[in-house]
């Protein structure tokens, strides 16, 4: 299979990730609950995960909350910062993991910056929206549909200068672009463990600057008489038994990234993205490509996007079609009615994948459309 759906999850993990998961299942009991060897071993696995994340994202281990996925982290962050009626500024490229929690909270959502690949427009609209008053902001680092890398450093600076707390959704950037809690000054940065960080599904990280409000309440293995959740991070936001095998695998994924460096991964993904974009354009497709783009792109082929993806799947090429859980991004780009076919490269990006994609599109999509 030619796997080009890394925006959904990284599929081929480094072998040590699989080994770590299995080993943790065989050797670890419940972390933070006992003092015997297997319980302490489990606690060590979780701490190792926090330490690796701290190195990758410039924060202390206790600022790393282990979550089930990026959506879980975003829900904690959004419910910590906002209340019904809060005015929250977001970009035009947010995922439903941001917009649905805000909608459910009855927050007033202000969308700022809808032009793809246009940093000047994004920043200008962003500043205008913040200046009209905001209780907070949430913004994605990279659009999951179009791969648009937003100018997050500048957007964060705009928020900091105005004293506006903000949350960064690093779902598509963690592992291939620099992400620093310290440098951005975000209240929270949420990310999945199973995409660019190469861990198993069912893992995620929430980096917290100060604290947060628990979404779940329950046992933490500490401070047990207190019927409120503990005041300290990370336990305050981690109720119940943790996914030790998952986080043991995630630690190994992050160690791979620390050894290899995110710059190298980005360069590799981006090189294939450029080749794919050029090739798809030559085949006469409508390709959404531009400056400031990560390893993801969308295209339209003059046929139903699901049919196009199915035609590629028949040839062993895995891509994702539809709205990608981001109707706001499609509305911004004018593709809400049709959806798009998305290809997203991963850590193993190479020319053989791009060539297979272009051949597959030429054979299975162009001839039918």
């Amino acid at each position: 299979m030619i796997y080009l759906d890394n925006g959904a999850t990284s599929f081929h993990k480094p072998p040590q990730v699989y080994r770590a998961v299995t080993e943790a299942m065989r050797t670890c009991a419940n972390p933070g609950r006992g003092g015997y060897g297997a319980a302490m071993a489990a606690s060590e696995k979780l701490y190792a995960c926090r330490e690796a994340a701290g190195k990758l994202f410039s924060c202390q281990p206790e600022q790393v909350v282990l979550t089930n996925n990026c959506t879980h982290g975003l829900n904690i962050a959004i419910h910590s910062l906002f209340r019904p009626g809060s005015r929250v500024v977001v970009t035009g490229f947010e995922h439903n993991a941001v917009t649905r929690p805000l909608h459910g909270l009855d927050a007033r959502i202000v969308v700022a910056g809808r032009k793809l690949f246009d940093w000047a427009d994004t920043l200008s609209e962003w500043e205008k929206a913040l200046d009209r008053g905001a209780d907070g902001a949430v913004f994605t680092h990279v659009s999951n549909v179009f791969g648009y890398i937003l100018p997050v450093e500048q957007m964060a600076k705009c928020c900091r200068e105005r004293g506006i707390p903000f949350i960064v959704d690093a779902a598509q950037s963690a592992g291939s672009l620099p992400v620093s809690l310290e440098a951005l000054g975000a209240e929270f940065i949420a990310m999945p463990g199973h995409k660019g960080l190469l861990g198993p599904q069912g893992t995620g990280l929430l980096l917290c600057r100060n604290g947060g409000e628990p979404l779940l309440r329950g046992g933490t293995g500490s401070d047990s008489i207190n019927q409120d959740m503990p005041a300290d991070l990370p336990e305050r936001l981690e109720a119940g038994t943790m996914n030790v095998p998952g986080f043991a695998g995630l630690t190994e994924g992050m160690c791979c990234l620390l050894r290899r460096g995110t710059e190298d991964i980005f360069r590799r993904e981006h090189a294939q993205l450029r080749l794919a974009a050029e090739g798809l354009k030559k085949l006469g497709l409508e390709v959404f490509a531009g400056e400031h783009q990560a390893g993801t792109l969308s295209f339209r082929a003059g046929m139903d996007c699901e049919d196009a993806a199915a035609a590629l799947a028949k040839q062993g090429i895995a891509v994702r079609a539809g709205l990608h859980c981001a109707p706001l991004a499609h509305r911004s780009a004018g593709t809400l009615d049709t959806g798009t076919v998305r290809i997203s490269f991963g850590i193993d990006a190479c020319f053989a994948q791009t060539r297979a994609l272009l051949q597959g599109v030429s054979k299975g999509v162009c001839r039918k459309s």
Partner: protein, 84 residues
């Protein structure tokens, strides 16, 4: 050499404390806190072997790792809260 217990509210703080002290060559082990020491219920502590407890405590404070209490193990094996 004297034995001390430094108690923590959070296992993660205790783990970070262990990492900091070991990096400085201070011998310590992570363990469950004896129930009588922890009025708030379960917790973790570091058993520390040192002549001068002020150094490990200062290191933890410098790195922003909050501790709960410090206990000294006396020669007869009894524990008493250390006055720092």
């Amino acid at each position: 050499m004297k034995f001390y217990y430094i108690t923590f509210r959070s296992v993660t703080h205790a783990q970070r404390g262990e990492s900091i002290l070991k990096q400085r060559g201070i011998r310590c082990t992570l363990q469950r806190t004896p129930r009588w020491m922890e009025e708030q219920g379960c917790g973790y502590s570091l058993r520390v072997w040192t002549q001068d407890i002020h150094l490990p405590v200062a290191l933890l404070e410098e790195k922003g790792v909050p501790k709960r209490r410090v206990y000294l193990q006396k020669d007869d094996g009894q524990l008493e809260e250390a006055q720092l």
